[in-house]
């Protein structure tokens, strides 16, 4: 099962095995990883599952669509590595993905 590493803003790291097909957001929420709120439940409508994807991974994961880019406008302190985890589906290729959470989601 692909392993995803979620790093909280304070540096605390959570390495979670996430079944393929779930979103990176669901992997966090279902395992009580703090720092990803996902208020809208995963419909790309709230920007509270925002993370910074580790630089080396950013180009490897499927590109964001315009709806996600629009939504990131509303995220807390976005940067060029910002993604919404509800829009990233876990696959074998994502094994080892590292994401960092912002200090808060809103």
């Amino acid at each position: 099962m692909p392993k995803i590493t979620y790093i909280e803003h304070n540096g605390k790291s959570h390495e979670i095995e996430v079944p393929k097909g779930l979103s990176v957001m669901e992997g966090a929420v279902q395992n009580n990883v703090p720092g990803i709120d996902a208020d809208c439940g995963g419909s790309c409508a709230c920007a509270t599952c925002h993370v910074y994807v580790n630089e080396e991974w950013f180009e490897k994961i499927p590109k964001k669509e315009s709806a996600e880019e629009d939504m990131i406008d509303m995220a807390f302190e976005p940067n060029k590595f910002s993604r919404l985890t509800c829009q990233i589906t876990v696959t074998d290729e994502l094994d080892g993905l590292v994401v960092k959470m912002p200090s808060k989601q809103g």
């Binding site: 406008d73 509303m74 302190e77």
Partner: protein, 319 residues
Amino acid sequence: MGLIGLKAEVVDNLDKIGGQCIELYPDKPIYDIPALPSCTGESLTNNLLEQIKPFKTNFHLNERVQEISKEENNWKIKTSGKKVFIAPNIIIAAGVGSFEPRKFSIKEAEKFENNGIYYSIKDKTLFKNKKICIFGGGDSALDWAIELSKFAEVTLVHRRNEFRGAEHSSSVARQLEKEGKLKIKTPFQISSIEGDNKITSITIKDENGKIEKIPTDCILGFFGLIMKLGPIAEWGLNLDNKTIPVNTENFQTNKEGIFAIGDICTYPGKLKLILSGFHEGALAARACFKLARPNEKYRFEFTTTSKTLQGRLGIKKSD
């Protein structure tokens, strides 16, 4: 509520009816509402409003319930708009909480809130001949940048080069920029705010660390809305990770007469679907009846045949 003969007063912090459906996904398609092959957040809201028309429900918008207290057999409910309701039942259908503007993340922003920093505009004349920096890339940011540029010195700042607001507004803004009537700074984000008692300037920064200082009197932030649980947390209700546990017999919380339905309630097997909210509401409403009319027997009826229910719906049948 209306169907079973109870009157509801609806309090919502948003400026319009419809909650997440209207605020978060008004144009997005929804395909899992029974008997509605497809609809949008907006059309669902409009259809529901049409359906409840006969009950003449009062809506109290732009208000949030701040305090509740027990008063004999009733609850006393106070709103942020200083309204007071006395009711035997409260139904919390608050989603993930009330909608509030997303704010600037830098710490100086709090100090200047409502004294130079604003997240909405009530009276645009206050901005006349001022130096204004507007942040955001959606319709609110673009519309206000265009409007205020008529009588103020406006700089529109956005984190990327593309605006997500209406294409027309975006091209109007770019045209104004060409004519020298509006300044546009992209891709920039706020870095700091300078000033003691009032704002004198702001510093903005791009992804590569390039810095610019802009003299300004006030800052407007349009980053959309975020949901906050707010005062609900202080009402003595059991909470489980920002949701309210209920029993599935009547969706009552740990307090008699307070019910929770929709995304805000939780129970084993809970699904955060619009579909579930309808079922939860139907059961909670019947439990409300028992507390509102303790001396009356609730009679289960169908809208297909009941003259009483059809009367409440305003349907006149010719025999």
